[in-house]
Symmetry: C2
Subunit: 221 residues, 2 copies
């Protein structure tokens, strides 16, 4: 047994009921945030969150996530224009009451979020040597998604809100940010201090969708 393992054994954490309750609060109060205050976010905190995200599980320890901090006006403007085009097209797919509701929803915080972070998958990574992803190659992609979720929860513990923008043409995002065309966009994230906090999703509060009872998503075999 190596020294490293000994250290592991010594520091093994015990999570108590109080931590569990707060952790459940974190899961309940994590929201997709679209309205941000203009207060800046410390750049060291953003990098710290990326380090925490990198602790996410990944198939074969492949760590296929790649983070792009989007700072320049030119890059941000390309993403904003991309979103506006896609959102206009999306609206056309709804009619009547649903179209009215869709048009009234604020679906991205691209104008006000002080931090914008694009998360990509490096699909061609040799890291992990293919372990665990021969029959289910999509697990590589899922690994990058797990990193986004870790980052999301960690951001909330610091009082930061995060909004995942998916109404984007992913190929145009690569072009606009000038990143390797073989990288696959997983998520475009808006991050900042939220204008308000809520324990229920905005789409639920606004009447877009209802919450499914557990009985409808759980079966036994």
């Amino acid at each position: 047994m190596s020294t490293k393992d000994h250290q592991d054994d010594l520091h093994e954490p015990e999570f108590d009921e109080s931590f569990r309750q707060q952790f459940e609060e974190l899961l309940k109060w994590r929201r997709d945030v679209r309205s941000f205050r203009s207060d800046p976010v410390d750049a060291r905190l953003v990098e710290h969150l990326i380090c925490l995200a990198s602790l996410a599980p990944s198939v074969g320890h492949s760590q296929p996530w790649r983070f792009v901090i989007v700072e320049s006006d030119k890059c941000r403007e390309s993403v904003r224009a991309n979103f506006e085009d896609c959102n206009r097209e999306a609206l056309k797919l709804y009619s009547g009451e649903k179209a009215h509701l869709y048009a009234s929803l604020k679906l991205a915080g691209l104008r006000d979020a002080p931090v914008q972070l694009a998360v990509f998958l490096s699909e061609k990574t040799h890291h992990g040597s293919g372990l665990g992803r021969i029959t289910m190659p999509e697990t590589l992609e899922y690994s990058a998604v797990l990193a986004v979720h870790s980052l999301w929860l960690a951001a909330r513990t610091h009082g930061l809100g995060l909004g995942w923008v998916s109404i984007l043409d992913p190929v145009k995002v690569n072009r606009g940010l000038n990143v390797c065309p073989s990288w696959k966009l997983i998520a475009y994230l808006c991050i900042g201090y939220p204008k308000e906090d809520n324990s229920s999703p905005e789409l639920l509060r606004r009447g877009w969708e209802t919450t499914l009872p557990v009985g409808q998503v759980l079966v036994k075999r």
Copy 2:
């Protein structure tokens, strides 16, 4: 403003430094577990974890995750045989030292995990009415992945380990568990009290892969 919103405002949680440190410990000590003790897991706890997983973000509040608790010997045996077939095939893709190392790794806890849970995506769900997934339809799948990660972290707060088995033919899993062929397998999870705890991935400790420094996964634009 509804009563619900008022309640939200009243209970808005503040996470302090002590909670943040423990949360970081949780991210560090969450492992993919393949060796379980035989102690049973309270069925109510399993259902509670599924409820917590269902708090995960989902595109358009679509909640496309479906959970199948796998209890019967017949179903479990079908998954075990599926894994063994796929693992035998996977081994053939490696040679030399890597093949030797692969063969020595324990890649699933399917024989000893007291709880087994399959997570599927209901791709045809109408929930969410398509919002947010026209240009990036894969976000529906990602939503189910986020639920798995919430469940994983929540399980660890209760001292439970979780192992994600991806060395499976997903179509055969649907057949073996007799679930709707249109459901897509996202993850097959082994859950139980772990035989040991570690703060570093087993694949790192066993020399399968190294950890990437943040400088290699982060760029600015």
